[in-house]
């Protein structure tokens, strides 16, 4: 973590719990004000998320640019963190490819302040326990000043594949 930088947190999206994972990590580890980009129809059904950092995006509407600009604006302030699911859809936890939507590039280019980009792969495991455990594999993707969309996309995908391999060797 780089002090004095806001954080753009990119997370893999495979479950209902992902937003809560991101919120929990923000509170306990990343120590920023939590904001999260949510699909508009999902947010409308649960408007209370609006009070705890949720803001909407609707990819099919013209307003998509407004949402991306709003995210960038939040990231101008070093106190803030914005969690985004770059895959743009729920995908299997077993997936090996992480799709990074173009919107990420747009957000990062619009940030005027200093922002660090962090990605994590989360994996659910059970082993001996009846309750699942979640394992996070973090990756520092640099700051908005040296951001290159294609390079970060490759970096995230190779990190995700490596994380999957490491996960297999997890001690339990």
């Amino acid at each position: 973590m780089i002090p004095g930088h806001s954080i753009l947190l990119l997370c893999n999206h495979f479950s209902w719990w992902d937003g809560f994972f991101a919120g929990h990590l923000t509170q306990t580890y990343l120590h920023r004000d939590f904001h999260i980009m949510m699909q508009e129809d999902h947010l409308q059904k649960r408007m209370f998320f609006n009070r705890v950092g949720g803001f909407s995006i609707n990819r099919k509407s013209k307003e998509v640019v407004t949402s991306l600009q709003y995210a960038a604006q939040l990231l101008d302030d070093p106190k803030n963190l914005v969690a985004v699911f770059p895959q743009g859809a729920l995908e299997s936890n077993h997936t090996e490819e992480i799709n990074i939507e173009r919107g990420i590039d747009y957000i990062v280019k619009k940030i005027k302040g200093d922002c660090q980009i962090i990605y994590y792969s989360a994996f659910i495991e059970y082993f001996e326990s009846l309750k699942p455990s979640v394992y996070f594999h973090f990756l520092n993707c640099g700051t908005n000043h040296n951001f290159d969309y294609e390079k970060v996309k490759m970096l995230i995908n190779s990190h995700h594949k490596k994380a999957l391999k490491e996960q297999v060797n997890t001690l339990h």
């Binding site: 299997s92 936890n93 077993h94 090996e96 059970y126 082993f127 009846l130 699942p132 996960q167």
Partner: protein
Amino acid sequence: MIRNQKNFFIRCILHYYTRWIVGRHFHEILFNTIEVDSNRSILLIANHFSFWDSLILYIINLKLLKKKFHVMVREDTTLHLKHLKYGGAFSVNKKSKDMLESLDYAAGLLNDPQNLVLIFPQGKLYSNFVNDINFEKGVMRIMAKAEGKFQLIFAATFIQYFKHKKQSVTVYIKNEDCMGKGFDDLKNAYQKYYDSTKLQQTEIVI
């Protein structure tokens, strides 16, 4: 070796407890149907990544396979959880000579067409994300001893969440012909089945 034991009262408690706990923790259990031969017992081979595996397959047995459930469990687990033996668990210890006794006992169970024996050939718990399924050789001894008397079934279990708060489980089951299969053939056949089912799970996008 610890053998499974009969106790009507404890078995009933375990039966209802398993149904209750699986029902409570899972959003849904999805499985495909296959033909079950009533004249042969069932040897069920499955992947092993959690404590839930046997409980889920117990439910699949109740709903689809309808045989008497038996499962081969590591000896330290049966010693730790003493009630498992009343639910059809018998022990195996890879490091002891007892192992042959356990394998022969499993083969003996397969002589009765009403029985089902569940085996995790991986031999221990592995990560949910393994690509290569470790296969222990003991299963071949069981198959050789009980040849012709059982129906071989492959099961591959996957747990995922997607849009629900509770996890859902998908079990892919398939009849497999075991006649004349050597260890490598069996291992490759299961690996191929696991790969294809895992790919189906991986490709889901919501």
